[in-house]
Symmetry: C2
Subunit: 315 residues, 2 copies
């Protein structure tokens, strides 16, 4: 296990061939963007490379793989991208865990085991690392590669909104636009498109919204019955937690989601420095200052009452 520089990583990639590029389970825009960008880049200089998608490719990301066909070769070099811990390899863990030659990541907490590791936690997205790496290898960034890198950067920063966005993030975006990336299409797919089921779920959730603490706390919930009535999957549930905090005057937005095991999964989002992590710690959870979570056992009424009582003490 060796911590290396990005230049070392570029040398390693240039001097090897027949790559398997591993993504993390429940693949998102960043891990997929990294993998396809690196794959296209390596193929463009005559090397063989495949992306090992971890589970299914979410339908909204099919545009990343438009130019992708699986190649036939025996794997000689394994690279993981945006994978922070062995367990995040999911179904790939047993096959690849002890065979990773190069780990590229931007999570400060990275706990992967690999021959060579490069982690840069100042990068908003792992795709920022891939961008610098491809340039270090002196490989031309085609529009397809640019689309992949932009996807990781845009999705991991909430389109340049989250506090992880840096000057470097924007400078890379500038270069990607010059390389011909279709940022308008990518952002429309990732931020502007909703399924009909998602819209129905949002409407149902709005109907549950209640305000407390003079409007400073908003609380919404979903029940198993609601989810079942809409035949809604995880895709439709995604993003609901951001709804209550969006309302003018709300400092703490709480989302309760009923789970099969008799608990409610609680997501807390705050504004103006209210500590969501401390709040969730009261219930055995935790997270970041502005975004935390916990699980509470009980029925809807009881759990809601507990949360409102706690919110009243904080706000």
């Amino acid at each position: 296990m060796k911590k290396i520089t990005l230049l070392d990583a570029s040398t390693l990639l240039l001097s090897n061939d027949n790559f398997h590029i591993l993504t993390h389970r429940y693949p998102d825009g960043d891990t997929l963007g990294c993998a396809f960008a690196l794959c296209y880049a390596l193929r463009s200089i005559g090397k063989k490379a495949n992306v090992i998608i971890n589970g299914n490719l979410p339908s909204k990301f099919t545009y990343l793989a438009e130019k992708y066909e699986k190649q036939d070769f025996e794997c000689c070099y394994v690279v993981s991208v945006d994978v922070a811990a062995p367990s995040l390899l999911g179904d790939l863990q047993s096959e690849y865990e002890d065979k990773i030659d190069l780990c590229l990541d931007h999570h400060g907490s990275n706990s992967m085991v690999a021959k060579n590791i490069f982690v840069d936690a100042t990068c908003a997205a792992a795709c920022e690392i891939i961008h610098v790496l491809i340039k270090a290898m002196k490989i031309k960034i085609t529009p397809d590669i640019a689309n992949c890198i932009y996807t990781g950067i845009s999705t991991d920063t909430g389109c340049f909104c989250y506090t992880n966005t840096t000057a470097q993030t924007h400078r890379i975006a500038a270069e990607l636009i010059e390389c011909g990336c279709d940022f308008n299409k990518i952002n429309r797919i990732n931020f502007e498109t909703k399924t009909r089921a998602k819209i129905k779920m949002e409407r149902m959730v709005y109907d549950t919204m209640e305000f407390y603490c003079s409007g400073k706390c908003a609380i919404i919930y979903t029940t198993l019955a609601m989810q079942k009535s809409l035949d809604a999957g995880d895709d439709e549930m995604e993003g609901l937690a951001s709804i209550p905090r969006q309302i003018e005057g709300v400092k703490m937005g709480i989302t309760m989601r009923e789970k099969e095991d008799g608990t409610f999964k609680v997501s807390v989002r705050t504004n103006d420095g209210i500590n969501a992590s401390d709040f969730c710690a009261r219930f055995g959870g935790g997270g970041h200052i502005a975004a935390s979570g916990c699980s509470i056992k009980g029925d809807l009424k009881t759990v809601k009452y507990m949360l409102i009582k706690a919110a009243e003490e904080v706000l």
Copy 2:
């Protein structure tokens, strides 16, 4: 009337004093961002300058004026920012129309009358011009100035999503972050905050949604009665037109809004190159390829039928 360079503009500003900086009517993030950025910059080198806000400062933009106090002086030099035509001066037109010394704008269609004019239509926001100008004057960009410039850039590009975004837009954003702008707060205010009335209006509008042309056309409407029942103003109506196009599979989103004069104001938003401008031209309207509008006289049922018929011919 003289077309000048940005360097000329910087010389003019440095050699004059006692500025009135004019914004356009219904002021938005770009015109206000320009005006306050330029005002703070000129004041920082000992000059006197006031922003002439055109109408009321929208409450969400009060953060731009947090450090602003009106100064007392006799105006010697008038600058207009982001004002594309004399009529857009609104109530200021009669007083200032023939007294503008310097016009700074990014609208290719600019038709202002001014002693000196600088227009750069390659800029996504007029704030990009102000950024380069302040640097040309060698004035330090403080966090307050950076917040103003970022506001114009972010609001005029839909947070770097619209096709007007360029590599320069991102490079300026990078510099503004390095100058200490609070982009997270600015984007939260401009893109993530909704009033309760707005949320109620959105829910009501979702209830009107119908799909045609195998789901490729979605249509929503608001009536005067709906607007009245919510006591909703223009702020709440803003952004509704973007709703129907957001739905997966929709290529044409149509929003109908009943007006006092017995017409419906129709907004058409399209994806995938469907020509909204041609569509609206059938009803005497027009606009851009992806976003156009028209007005149609008639009752809800009749107007909706006309629009659906036309959509079926196009899609």
